[in-house]
C-alpha cells in the first residue's frame, strides 16, 4: 500500500503521502489492545488501523478524498480517522494528541469501563510542551493511557542526537513517576508483550505507561522531503539489511518451519493485487457531494449558508453540464 500510494503522489494523482517503511513492527502494539481501546495517532500509524480492520478501500478513499472518504475530503491524505474503529482523526500540529489522550483516558476512568487509551507519537513530537503536560497530568490524575513513542531516529531532518541529550524518551517517563519500558521497536513480539503488560497496568490499576520503541525511519519523512539531503543512502541501506522488522519476522517464521518461500511469494502477490484493485477502484469513484460543502462547520448550518446552498442548488439544477454535476456524488 505504501509503495503504491507513494508512487501515486509522485505521479500527481494524490497531493501528499507518508510511508511507514522500517516501522512495520508497530502493528504488534495494536494486536495487544482491545479493539475498543481508543487510539490517538500522530500520522505514521496506518498499521494500527490496518490491524483493526480499516480496509484497503478505506485507506485509498481517504487519500483520494472521494465520495466514500469518511472525512468527506476535508483533510490531507494520511490524516485517517474512524469512529467505529475507535481511532481519533489525525491532527497536523504535533503533540496536541498527547494531553488529549490523557483527557480521554481520564473520561474513560470516570466511566469505569475497563478500556484504555493508546497515544502514539514520535521522539521529535516529545520535545513539545504538550508532551510534558500530557504525561504529568496522566500520572497525577491516574489516567489509563499507554504512551507509545516511536523513536525512529529522525524528526524530518533532525536526528535524535540533536533532539535531546538525555537517555531517550524513556528516562522522562521515570521522571514523571510513570511505569516505563524501552523495547526493540523492530521486534514485533517484544512490542506485543510490552503493550500487553502496559495495558494490564493501565486498565487494572488506572495508571499511565510509557513505551519507547526504538526503530528506524527508512522512509523519507513525507513526499515533501528528500532525506538524501541529510543522511547517506548507505545508512538507510544498512538499516534495511541489518535490522528490518519484516525481514526479521520472515526469518523467524521460516526458522520455525511455519513459513515457506513459496507462500511468501504468493501472499505478497495477492496483497499487491488487492492494493492495486482498491487503488483503481478509489480513483474511479466520484467526488463528495456538493452539499457537503456546507455541512459540519457547526452542528446546524447558519442561515447565511442555508441561503447560499439554495442558490447553488438552483444553479446546479439549471446548468448541470457546466458544473459537471456528474463528477460529484448525489447531493442531499
Amino acid at each position: 500500500m505504501d509503495s503504491v500510494l507513494y508512487e501515486a503522489q509522485r505521479q500527481g494523482r494524490i497531493s501528499f503521502y507518508m510511508t511507514s517503511f522500517g516501522e512495520e513492527a508497530l502493528i504488534g502494539s495494536a494486536a495487544a489492545l482491545d479493539p475498543k481501546d481508543h487510539v490517538f495517532g500522530q500520522y505514521r500509524e496506518a498499521g494500527v488501523l490496518l490491524q483493526r480492520g480499516f480496509t484497503l478501500e478505506q485507506f485509498m478513499n481517504q487519500c483520494y478524498s472521494n465520495e466514500l472518504d469518511q472525512g468527506k475530503g476535508r483533510q490531507m491524505p494520511v490524516h485517517y480517522g474512524s469512529k467505529e474503529l475507535h481511532f481519533q482523526t489525525i491532527s497536523s500540529p504535533l503533540a496536541t494528541q498527547i494531553p488529549q489522550a490523557s483527557g480521554a483516558a481520564y473520561a474513560m476512568r470516570r466511566e469505569g469501563n475497563k478500556q484504555c487509551v493508546v497515544c502514539y507519537f514520535g521522539e521529535g513530537a516529545a520535545s513539545e510542551g504538550d508532551f510534558h503536560a500530557g504525561l504529568n497530568m496522566a500520572a497525577t490524575l491516574g489516567c489509563p493511557v499507554i504512551f507509545y513513542c516511536r523513536n525512529n531516529g529522525y524528526a524530518i531532518s533532525t536526528p535524535s542526537i540533536e533532539q535531546y541529550r538525555g537517555d531517550g524518551i524513556a528516562s522522562r517517563g521515570i521522571g514523571y513517576g510513570i511505569d516505563t519500558i524501552r523495547v526493540d521497536g523492530n521486534d514485533i513480539w517484544a512490542i506485543y508483550e510490552a503493550t500487553k503488560a502496559a495495558r494490564k497496568l493501565a486498565v487494572e490499576q488506572n495508571k499511565p505507561v510509557l513505551i519507547e520503541a526504538m526503530t528506524y525511519r527508512v522512509s523519507h519523512h513525507s513526499t515533501s522531503d528528500d532525506s538524501s539531503a541529510y543522511r547517506s543512502k548507505k545508512e538507510v541501506e544498512d538499516w534495511s539489511k541489518r535490522d528490518n522488522p519484516l525481514a526479521r519476522m520472515r526469518a523467524w517464521l521460516m526458522n520455525k518451519g511455519w513459513w515457506e518461500k513459496s507462500e511468501d511469494v504468493e501472499v505478497t502477490k495477492a496483497a499487491k493485487a488487492a492494493v492495486l484493485k482498491a487503488f483503481a477502484d478509489a480513483e474511479k469513484l466520484k467526488k463528495p457531494a456538493v452539499s457537503e460543502m456546507y455541512t459540519d462547520v457547526y452542528d446546524e448550518m447558519i442561515p447565511e449558508l442555508v441561503r447560499e446552498k439554495a442558490e447553488i442548488d438552483a444553479l446546479l439544477k439549471k446548468y448541470p453540464d457546466y458544473y459537471q454535476v456528474n463528477d460529484y456524488a448525489k447531493s442531499t
Binding site: 497531493s15 501528499f16 478524498s65 475530503g73 476535508r74 483533510q75 490531507m76 490524516h79 491532527s91 497536523s92 500540529p93 504535533l94 503533540a95 521529535g124 513530537a125 520535545s127 513539545e128 510542551g129 504538550d130 523513536n151 531516529g153 524528526a155 524530518i156 531532518s157 533532525t158 536526528p159 535524535s160 542526537i161 540533536e162 533532539q163 535531546y164 531517550g168 524501552r182 526493540d184 521497536g185 523492530n186 526504538m214 526503530t215 528506524y216 539531503a229 541529510y230 544498512d238 538499516w239 541489518r242 535490522d243 467526488k287 460543502m293 462547520v297
Partner: protein, 357 residues
C-alpha cells in the same frame, strides 16, 4: 536493543554539534547579495537581508526548527536548529532578546506559531511596557503565513489580524522582493518585536532588483504603505500575495477605462491610515482585499478606521471587504481556490462597488 539500533542514538554527530555556534557556521554559508538590474526572488531578497544584517551587527542570530540542515525549511538562510518546541524556542529567543542579542526566530509556518503565541504576545510584546521601559525585546518572528497549496484547514491561516491587534508588536507582510528585503532589514534593526508574515507561494517569484535595493542600508520604514498603482476611481488596500491579484484586476479594469489605485499596506501595524485617507479622498471608493477570514480581519479594521476619519465623508459607496471564505480551509484544490480572493473576484467586486454593469 540490537547493536545497529544502539549506534544511531549515539552518533558522532555530538562532536559535529559541539563546534556549531551561530557565528562559527557563518563563514560556510553562501553570502547573498543584491545586484541592481538582475532578477531576484523573494527568497533571495530575504536571505540577502538577513545575511547583510548579520554581517552588520554581531548581535543578530537565527534560530528555528528544520533550519540548519536545509538552509531553512523553505531554503531561506538559518543557522541554529532547535528541537521541535515552538513555545520553547520562541521563549529562548525572547529571553535572548531580553539579554541584549537580536534573535530572528523562524517558524516553519505561522500556523505552528500558535503553540508559541503566549511567548510572542504576553512576553515579547508586553515586557518593555511592564518593566517600565527597562527591558526591551529586539526580536524578529518570521515565517510563512496564510494559505500555501493543498495543505488543508490546519496549515493555511492568515495571522495578520491576530498579531495586528497587539500593542507592543509591529507587524509587516511583504509582497515582492523589494518589500521582503527592505522590511526584513527594517524589522531586524527595529528595537521592538516585529512579526514578518511571509508567503510561501511568493518565495520563488522573481522581481527586478533596483539600485536602491542593492544598498546595504536599504530599509523600508515600518508603518508606511506603498502606492503600487495610481488611480482615480477606487482604492484597493491589500497586502502580501493578493497585491498581485489586485494589480492584475486593475490592469483588466484599466482596459475598460476604470482607474483603480492599489495600496500595498506593507505594515499591518502600525497601519498607514494617512495613506488610505489620502487615497480615498481622491477616489471616493474603498475596497480591502485579504486572504484571512472576514470577521475581525484587517479589512474590518481599515473600514472602521476610515469610518471614524474625515475620509468617511468622501465615500460615495460603502467600503467593500474582499476576504477569504468564512470556513476552515477546504483541502480540495478547487474549493481551496474558491475560498480565496483572486483576480476575478476583485475585478467583479470593483465593478459592483462602482455600479458599472
Amino acid at each position: 536493543m540490537s547493536a545497529a539500533l544502539k549506534s544511531l542514538f549515539k552518533t558522532p554527530a555530538a562532536a559535529r554539534l559541539a563546534s556549531r555556534s551561530p557565528r562559527a557556521l557563518f563563514g560556510s554559508i553562501r553570502y547573498n547579495t543584491t545586484v541592481a538590474g538582475e532578477q531576484i526572488t523573494v527568497r533571495e531578497a530575504l536571505n540577502a537581508a538577513i545575511d547583510e544584517e548579520m554581517e552588520r551587527d554581531e548581535k543578530v542570530w537565527l534560530l528555528g526548527e528544520e533550519v540548519a540542515q536545509y538552509n531553512g525549511a523553505y531554503k531561506v538562510t538559518a543557522l541554529f536548529d532547535t528541537p521541535i518546541t515552538e513555545m520553547g524556542f520562541a521563549g529562548i529567543a525572547v529571553g535572548a532578546a531580553f539579554h541584549g542579542t537580536k534573535p530572528i526566530c523562524e517558524f516553519m509556518t505561522f500556523n505552528f506559531a500558535m503553540q508559541a503565541i503566549d511567548q510572542v504576545v504576553n512576553s515579547g510584546a508586553k515586557t518593555y511596557y511592564m518593566s517600565g521601559g527597562s527591558t526591551s525585546c529586539p526580536i524578529v518572528f518570521r515565517g510563512p503565513n496564510g494559505a500555501a497549496a493543498g495543505v488543508g484547514a490546519q496549515h493555511s491561516q492568515d495571522y495578520a489580524s491576530w498579531y495586528g491587534q497587539i500593542p507592543g508588536l509591529k507587524v509587516v507582510s511583504p509582497y515582492d522582493a523589494e518589500d521582503a528585503k527592505g522590511l526584513m532589514k527594517a524589522a531586524i534593526r527595529d528595537p521592538n518585536p516585529v512579526i514578518v508574515l511571509e508567503n510561501e507561494l511568493m518565495y520563488g517569484t522573481s522581481f527586478p532588483a533596483t539600485a536602491e535595493m542593492a544598498s546595504k542600508d536599504f530599509v523600508i520604514p515600518l508603518g508606511k504603505a506603498k502606492t503600487m498603482r495610481e488611480g482615480t476611481d477606487l482604492t484597493i488596500v491589500t497586502y502580501s500575495r493578493p497585491v498581485a491579484f489586485a494589480m492584475e484586476a486593475a490592469e483588466l479594469l484599466a482596459k475598460e477605462g476604470i482607474n483603480v489605485e492599489v495600496l500595498n499596506l506593507r505594515s499591518i501595524r502600525p497601519l498607514d491610515l494617512d495613506a488610505i485617507i489620502k487615497s480615498v479622498k481622491k477616489t471616493n471608493h474603498l475596497m480591502t482585499v485579504e486572504q484571512g477570514f472576514p470577521q475581525f480581519g484587517v479589512g474590518s479594521e481599515v473600514s472602521a478606521q476610515i469610518m471614524e476619519s474625515e475620509a468617511f465623508d468622501y465615500l460615495d459607496a460603502p467600503v467593500c471587504r474582499v476576504t477569504g471564505a468564512d470556513v476552515p480551509m477546504p483541502y480540495a484544490q478547487n474549493l481551496e481556490s474558491l475560498a480565496l480572493p483572486d483576480t476575478e473576484v476583485i475585478y467583479k467586486q470593483v465593478k459592483r462597488v462602482l455600479n458599472i454593469e
